[in-house]
Symmetry: C2
Subunit: 409 residues, 2 copies
């Protein structure tokens, strides 16, 4: 290929992203991304589901969308409606569910539906990097909503909305992850949910609710979804990546037909992969609660391991935002630590973490924060990886300061 006409870069379109490197394997101590626990994949359950659903409906694979239209496999839509009804307080049916190829596709589609360049959208000050990136790519102006340990501060939000209104700006939506926020793991209390809906109504701003982690709540549960409290104000999305497995590309949008009918033409992929949909729909129609409770217990145990490891290695030099569910631990090191400078040396010893600035509207506010995923690593690797991470941090910043016994441990 050395003389390829395609190496002539004058043929390329403008504004392309940088080329990808060859994939060289995942890091040994992998605390990045939204990976899940490999021991919790219900292999025999999926095998049985595949046999059952293929023998019952496999011939419909010959037709685009299984001959059942662009909203997705009805069995999986029914699973979504059922679990939202039983666990999230949402009264809905499969008619209001659109299956998408991962919730990232839902974010792309909803952005396309509502955002023109220059439009304003509101996001939690610390927020999912994939959403920040997508909204910016669409040319949105992002306004940051301050949060505390319970999520969005309603006093601050009211002031923001009033200030924007005074300038003649009506935001296109309030994007929020109210239930197991990413990265903080917080749950917005019920009273704030009602306040949020009231503010959104007062200012005529739709709410874009992302519940990708809401199935994985520790004991105690969470208040109903915002969509449950007022479906007329909310577009609700979710995913099976965290609930089951991220290599699946299965997410969903729940909304009324006025929204779904406008989203479907933006899907542009001739449907979502049928075997993913059929097998997951079949498996979860029988095993949702059992699977989720088992997975959640395992994740909660791994969080405990990670918290212990971080306390042991960083001592008082770390502030942890203990999550109420999910797969992430968000933490803050002393202001003197710039985590972005630790990425390379940590990688050199096999440790990967997500630096805080990627998960913030204003990167400068989070240079001492990091997000650690405890979903995929074993407990042993969590212990060993956090120890290595602390050593790298010490070697580059002097933090956490080490006594002899710590260094030799």
């Amino acid at each position: 290929m050395s003389a390829s006409v395609l190496q002539d870069t004058t043929l390329l379109a403008r504004d392309l992203p940088a080329p990808a490197p060859r994939f060289s394997g995942l890091p040994r101590y992998n605390f990045i991304g939204g990976h899940n626990d490999p021991t919790q994949i219900p292999i025999e359950g999926l095998v049985a589901a595949a046999a059952s659903v293929l023998r019952r409906e496999g011939s419909s694979l010959a037709m685009y969308n299984l001959a059942q239209g662009p909203q997705g496999y009805p069995g999986l839509r029914a699973v979504v409606a059922d679990k939202l009804g039983r666990h999230r307080g949402v009264k809905t049916t499969a008619d209001d569910v659109l299956i998408v190829t991962g919730s990232g596709q839902a974010i792309n589609m909803i952005t396309r539906l509502l955002v023109d360049p220059g439009d304003t959208v509101l996001l939690e000050e610390f927020c999912y990097a994939g959403s920040i990136t997508r909204f910016r790519a669409a040319g949105a102006k992002i306004v940051s909503m301050p949060v505390d340990d319970d999520g969005i501060r309603m006093d601050a939000l009211e002031k923001i909305l009033a200030d924007l209104k005074a300038k003649g700006v009506r935001p296109k939506f309030i994007y929020t992850i109210p239930t197991i926020q990413n990265p903080s793991g917080s749950i917005l209390p019920l009273a704030r949910r009602h306040q949020l809906l009231a503010l959104a109504k007062k200012y005529g701003v739709p709410i874009f609710e992302d519940e990708c982690y809401a199935d994985l709540v520790w004991a105690g549960g969470a208040p109903p979804a915002l969509y449950a409290l007022d479906p007329s104000q909310v577009i609700h999305i979710g995913s099976f990546s965290k609930t089951l497995a991220p290599a699946l590309r299965l997410g969903y949008v729940v909304s009324g037909w006025d929204v779904l009918s406008r989203l479907i033409p933006l899907k542009n992929d001739s449907g979502t992969g049928a075997l993913d949909q059929m097998i997951v729909g079949e498996f979860l129609s029988n095993h949702f609660d059992q699977h989720v409770s088992g997975l959640t217990a395992v994740l909660h145990g791994k969080l405990a391991t990670m918290i212990e490891a971080v306390e042991r290695e960083f001592g008082t030099h770390v502030e942890m935002f203990k999550p109420q569910g999910g797969i992430f631990l968000w933490l803050k090191l002393p202001d003197a630590v710039d985590v972005t400078k630790l990425v390379k040396p940590a990688a050199a010893v096999g440790v990967a973490f997500n630096p805080g600035p990627e998960w913030a509207i204003d990167a400068a506010t989070t240079k001492s924060y990091m997000r650690l995923c405890f979903g995929s690593a074993t407990k042993q690797d969590i212990n060993d990886g956090v120890k290595l991470l602390a050593r790298v941090c010490y070697e580059h910043t002097g933090i956490p300061p080490r006594s002899d016994n710590v260094i030799n441990r």
Copy 2:
């Protein structure tokens, strides 16, 4: 939802497509789209493949991209490399294969890679509607390449390229479906393939080769893929929609790393659905030739039924372009027939077909053409549906003229 804030259309972005209607089922006599034969879905083979691959590798579902990077499941990439080597003359390996979520995604990505608004691209005068639509959406100027029964006319292409060069225009690519062209079903002969590559090299224009139907060639086979003849000039794509099942969303790009490395960042979907990839990879790694030869024989038989039905019902008032493989029959009625006016009355009696103008660069040239898919209907439905179609055509145009015995049949 009657008072939904989302019904406020001032919130919507500009230039949205029309909302979708509720899905109301497929037509009784379904000759549209790229559907396949439901009896040819290898259900037990897929069940066995699912059990085998899930038990061997299922735990990797817990990681994005099965922990194996963004090019896709290695087992499926190996299937692509193997079958292209044995059947299409392509010397390649899994390293040069990128799995995509249906070949439509590949078309989107390659368009994004090469086309800025105002750029010129070359297409066969009759061509896949999905490609025409995507290139137009990217702002491309489409120049039509005249075809005859064997595909692109090289004399015409040379003149087009020379004329464009004289105007200072270097096209971004020549898009072609050389092997079982859509809609015509033609196969570009080997000599023309060499001529095409020579012209493309002379004018410095990459070739974008789409081989979605190339596995389904009637006895006799086809010349090697353009990519086989000169990989340095060609980006090659294909699909499993026609080879196996369209409800799967599995396609591929084959090219050198200079191209793949630039396409991967444009994929933007966190990977292609894993169960689709794993199960299809596992099944086809053992059963590709057996499955394809069985499917092709069935399709060839259904084509014979459709040709007989069209001859019986339309007699001398139709010109058929008998395909050398695939699932489509492209045909021409007398100039007096405007097929676009038959769409509604045909639908009213349960018959759906693709009107020619959607499959042409210049819609006006094909108003008497239609494309009929013979992949999914039974032989009985092919006979009954074509009979109904002829009756509708007669009732609206007087063509084909009917003797008493025909009308009463």
